[in-house]
Amino acid sequence: MGHVVIDVMLKPEILDPQGQAVNGALPRLGFEQFTDVRQGKRFVLTVDGEVTDEHLAAAAEAAEKLLSNPVIEDVVSVRASEDPDQ
């Protein structure tokens, strides 16, 4: 099985309340060195066999059409991976 890994992030200019909540919690745990947190989304799509260029093209299309909203989010990467955790 091959995997296509897609990362989606909120656009830099869009407020990220979830990231802010995490950012607020870090200092309470003693992590004082981080000045900001932005939270994103990862999708792992699985295919039979090796990931082909066609798979990647279809995944990129799905990423633009469904997995992200171009008004508020950017698709930052679409890549093949043997290990879905990488």
Binding site: I14, L15, P17, Q18, L66, V71
Partner: protein, 223 residues
Amino acid sequence: MKVGVVTFPGSLDDRDAARAVRAVGAEAVTLWHGDADLKGVDAVILPGGFSYGDYLRCGAIARFAPVMDALIPAAQGGLPVIGICNGFQVLCESHLLPGALIRNDHRKFNCVDQRLVVENAATAWTSDFEAGQEITIVLKNGEGGFVADERTLDELEGEGRVVFRYAGDNPNGSYRAIAGITNDRGNIVGLMPHPEHAIEEGYGPSTDGLPFFTSVLKALATA
């Protein structure tokens, strides 16, 4: 006059929306998300709730439901459509209206009697208001922050397409305190607050929701 109310898995306010339609003397028609069939209705309400559990993004999965395959071209062709709360999110995800709704800036679910200013009383859903009129209806959501880029916001303002603006404190961080908008033809309106919960004395903060529904009947009668 037949007004359709779409039910998605997770819709909450479809029954109240249908009740509001009946309250102004029209026939409410149930539309099912899985059927690409508008059953010949004269207007459509996309109700509030949490379609598909708000998974992925609010409204993102509902936007690809079969009923939307019929609704999107009909709305583009002039069919009056209103999206309330989750329905507004579905309209934005469908790109029938610009912008998007994100989590409230204070990160809490809001449920308040909300004052709004009606800024555009020329849409299919607001003609029974006066421009500048202040109304109070319920606002209840976790992801009601309206966002769009500056160019889109300027365009909406410049073309009079901001239909409702929050009065008083901004309840959710919406850019320019925008509570509801319309398309260029004025047949599609989306807003976060809930007119269908404000149609009867003793239930809700006012009856300021009624003119939404009488407006669309008037629009249909004169169409």
